[in-house]
């Protein structure tokens, strides 16, 4: 087998107003012909920068150096930009990006965008290109490919656009395909389809593939080799099996422990304390040392060299033998609530119809966002509400929060119709937590003000009482009191989501409605938040409606599940039951789409 790609000691730096960021350091990658490599790591770890420097697509302020970059027998460093564009970009290496909504040009048809490069390069005639494009669109699963050729990107869904991107890249028959988070912006069920498609295409065409993802589980299932990046360094690399089952680097181990599993008994997640660093100057210590449970003097004396573990498995850690894993499987703290406790929040036959127009002057259309939905949230339980985007989850959440009104049907808070509950009192009954902790907090207010806001709005208590409440809530969500006067911009994503939860808890509501509270977060931060919810359940008997599309998260925290599809409840039951024996076809697909790596628990279960 010969090497398709060989990058040695890649360094990427980005000029920022206040200095130079070292985005990637001394990264070495080898990929054999026809094989696939997964690059994983949390956001900001340098995955995209690695790929973009290989494609010479770095932002203006970015620059890279490398000892060698060899692709298919060519020394890429010796090519000038023009030769590179002519021979490598496209026919050599093709790239698919994360944002399917914006990666296609909105003013040109799909057909033109698919065929132009091949025709312009003189690789084929226009009619031949058109035939090939239609065949490829068909291959990637676009219905009516001929009709689609004359359509524009905005007429397609995100999943379809990503399929078009894939087909477009394949027009030039690349020898290597780089997919940078190709499915992160898509629904889970669509995600699995696209990843399977990529995998099939790679085999069919004997292409090399680099699949970049923040999701270790997604990558490990589909690639031959895995490289783990952290803080701009490649800290572990090797065959997917080896890295996944016998991770050598403490960071990889922590990352695996932070991922909720869909099989086995749910346990506490291994949250990694601290933050991913951004390196402004060269370091000569282990980059993970500040967060590593095994750190000792040798770790900060010099930067650990990349050492072979055998079988092509490399790891950048000073420990000779892989450390034993410190986290055991700790059971969850909260126990399941008593069945049949009284419902605290209920929806009865709720229907919500939106009227919209097609285009600016098109005919009016009615959209049934919710169709006769009934649901009970019982005291002390966590109810997971799942369904793909557009299935009505958020509409239902808004109605339960009293922020929107049903077209017909009723909502009851503590047994009383919601209309009879004064708006002020609702704040003490139910509070929301939203998906994006970056946009849901007012950047110009200090944490103390942000958290106290619901108290002010509901007009209860003196300033001193409110202050005491804010402080105790901050403790409840495990944020240090010194952050009271910090601004949201000074916090990490996980800390911000804690603030959002604190803001929701400060009025001591009976119910939290969390709308995808962890889907914008990295796994290690998601682990912190899921553990926190477990704590709150154990300590204060929190009742929670948790909207998600991640079945592993459902398994981790939910007592019961309600599945929605096109505005209707299609399945409901105890979480275990639904996950084990999904009745509805859609639920089955969701469960199947959840990544799993079964053998993990037995092999890694080494009690401290």
């Amino acid at each position: 087998m010969s090497a398709l790609l060989n990058i040695s000691n890649l360094n990427v730096s980005i000029k920022l107003p206040h200095g130079t960021l070292s985005a990637v350091r001394d990264t070495t990658i080898t990929l054999q012909k026809g094989r696939s490599l997964g690059i994983v790591g949390e956001s900001g770890s340098g995955k995209s920068m690695t790929a973009l420097s290989l494609m010479r697509l770095l932002p203006r302020s970015g620059d890279f150096t490398a000892d060698a970059i060899e692709f298919d027998g060519t020394n890429l460093l010796s090519l000038d930009d023009r030769r590179f564009a002519e021979t490598i970009s496209g026919p050599g290496i093709g790239m698919i990006f994360q944002e399917p909504m914006t990666s296609l040009n909105p003013v040109y048809t799909i057909g033109r965008q698919m065929t132009e490069a091949a025709v312009w390069r003189g690789m084929m005639s226009a009619p031949a290109a058109r035939t090939k494009a239609i065949a490829l669109l068909d291959r990637v699963g676009i219905p009516d490919p001929e009709g689609r050729m004359s359509q524009y990107p905005h007429q397609m869904s995100g999943g379809q656009r990503q399929r078009v991107m894939i087909a477009m890249t394949l027009m030039l028959d690349p020898k290597l395909l780089i997919a940078d988070e190709p499915t992160t912006a898509l629904d889970v069920t669509v995600q699995a389809q696209i990843l399977d498609l990529l995998d099939d295409l790679r085999r069919e065409r004997d292409m090399g593939m680099i699949l970049i993802s923040h999701d270790l589980a997604v990558v490990a299932q589909r690639t031959d080799a895995v490289a783990v990046m952290y803080g701009g360094e490649m800290i572990e690399q090797g065959p997917a099996e080896a890295v996944l089952r016998l991770p050598a680097h403490p960071y990889t181990q922590s990352l695996l422990n932070a991922i909720p599993q869909i099989s086995g008994a749910p346990g506490r997640l291994g949250a990694i304390p601290g933050l991913v660093p951004s390196i402004m100057q060269a370091t000569n210590t282990c980059i993970f040392a500040p967060r590593c449970a095994h750190a000792h003097a040798a770790c900060t004396a010099q930067r650990p060299p990349s050492r072979a573990q055998g079988g092509g498995h490399m790891c950048r850690c000073v420990l000779d033998t892989p450390p034993t894993i410190v986290t055991s499987v700790t059971p969850l703290r909260a126990s399941a609530p008593q069945p049949d406790t009284e419902p605290v929040l209920s929806a009865r036959d709720v229907t919500r119809v939106y009227t919209s127009r097609r285009g600016m002057f098109g005919p009016k259309r009615d959209i049934r966002a919710l169709d006769d939905v009934s649901l009970d949230l019982r005291k002390g339980e966590t109810l997971a509400l799942i369904g793909e985007s557009g299935s009505g989850k958020s509409t239902l959440a808004r109605i339960l929060l009293g922020l929107d009104h049903p077209t017909s049907g009723a909502v009851f808070m503590g047994g009383r119709p919601v209309a009879e509950v004064a708006v002020k009192d609702r704040a003490h009954f139910v509070q929301p937590v939203f998906q994006d902790p970056y946009s849901s907090l007012n950047p110009r207010r200090r944490l103390a003000e942000i958290i106290a806001r619901p108290l002010e709005l509901s007009g209860h208590g003196s300033a001193a009482e409110n202050d005491a409440l804010v402080r105790s809530t901050l403790e409840l969500v495990r944020l240090p009191l010194r952050l009271l006067h910090a601004y949201p911009s000074q916090l990490s994503g996980g800390q911000r989501q804690r603030v959002a939860i604190a803001r929701a808890l400060v009025t001591k509501p009976q119910v939290l409605v969390c709308d995808e509270p962890t889907s914008a977060l990295d796994v290690s931060i998601q682990a912190q938040i899921l553990n926190l919810l477990d704590d709150l359940k154990a300590e204060m008997g929190l009742t929670c409606l948790f909207i998600t599309h991640d079945m592993a998260v459902v398994h981790q925290i939910a007592d019961r599940v309600v599945v929605m599809l096109k505005g209707q409840v299609v399945e409901e039951g105890a979480a275990r039951q639904v996950l084990r024996q999904p009745n509805n076809d859609y639920t089955r697909r969701l469960v199947a789409a959840a990544p799993r790596f079964e053998a993990k628990t037995e092999e890694m279960e080494i009690v401290q």
Binding site: A85, M95, F97, S103, P106, V107, A117, W120, L172, G359
Partner: protein, 305 residues
């Protein structure tokens, strides 16, 4: 789409009539037209005679309605000064103004688009800063002042162009530059920011990944996206050129609508002023409508939506 245009068109006509009504009220209520026609030191008798002769003794609303009725049949009344139908007068002089406005727009495009493109492709370079300098000074220099400077420079000191008149295209060079300059800053800025935004867009990265670079990248993927907002602003600017013609035509003694407007205002030739305001408003609104239509025609997201 057709419905959209029809609605916009209706709106445009409404706006034009509102403008004419406002003008009518200003001309007839804010000052005494009879007094203005007669002159400052005319005796009350003379003023009264004029008032009756021109029908200015009728109530304002009645006069506006009869004006409207006239407009409906293409009759805009008779000029007090030229003693000719106003419509004839305006038709006579329209082509000078049209020539001026179009050549001014041409000058704007010639200067602003390449300059804006260069600046946008090399943001924060010396080209960018030079272009910004041009924009700032073009904005700071008043139109009439630029006109006088141009006459002194290129007609008097270095006599390449005629000082005034409108007999040949040669006469239009200086006025077109003067009138065109006023739109350069807006158009240049828009071209620049449009290109910067487009060049940073994800689809440009996609095109690069397919091997497009340099001119091919610009031509095939950036230009159309960046030019969309520019085209519609050009249409709007063309509408504004008609308004701008008042000063420029007066400086260069071009017998177009702008000069006619100034003369009529000074001479209290109310029917002429009234029609000119109406025409300018229609042109302005029509150009805005054209901008909307062009945008919809070129941008598939609006076209189909």
């Amino acid at each position: 789409m057709l419905k959209y245009i029809a609605l916009k068109g209706l709106l445009a006509i409404l706006v034009a009539f509102t403008a004419s009504l406002a003008a009518f009220l200003l001309l007839n209520v804010a000052s005494d037209p009879a007094q203005a026609i007669a002159g400052e030191d005319a005796t009350p008798d003379v003023v009264e005679t004029i008032r009756i002769r021109y029908g200015l003794d009728r109530p304002v609303y009645e006069r506006y309605l009869s004006w409207l009725a006239g407009v409906a049949t293409g009759d805009f009344g008779e000029s007090y000064y030229w003693h000719k139908p106003v419509a004839e007068l305006v038709a006579d002089r329209a082509d000078e103004t049209l020539t001026l406005a179009l050549s001014a727009l041409f000058v704007t495009i010639l200067i602003a688009v390449p300059l804006g493109a260069l600046a946008g492709l090399n943001p924060n370079s010396w080209i960018d800063r030079a272009a910004l300098g041009v924009a700032v000074s073009a904005q700071a220099i008043p139109n009439f002042w630029l006109g006088l400077i141009m006459i002194i420079l290129f007609a008097v000191m270095i006599p390449i162009f005629p000082v005034s008149g409108d007999n040949t295209w040669y006469h239009f060079v200086l006025p077109a530059i003067v009138l065109g300059a006023s739109s350069v800053p807006a158009v240049m800025r828009l071209t620049r920011t449009g290109l910067i935004e487009v060049m940073g867009a994800d689809y440009i990265r996609t095109a690069r990944a397919k091997g497009f670079r340099g001119n091919a990248l610009l031509r095939r993927h950036a230009l159309r996206n960046a030019i969309l907002p520019v085209i519609s602003v050009l249409a709007v600017q063309l509408g504004q050129k008609f308004g701008g013609s008042v000063i420029t035509e007066s400086i260069f003694a071009i017998n177009g609508l702008g000069r006619l407007a100034l003369e009529s205002i000074l001479g209290a030739d109310i029917p002429t002023v009234q029609m000119l305001i109406f025409v300018f408003a229609i042109v302005f609104v029509a150009m805005n409508l054209l901008a909307d239509i062009l945008n919809a025609a070129l941008d598939p997201r609006i076209r189909i939506g």
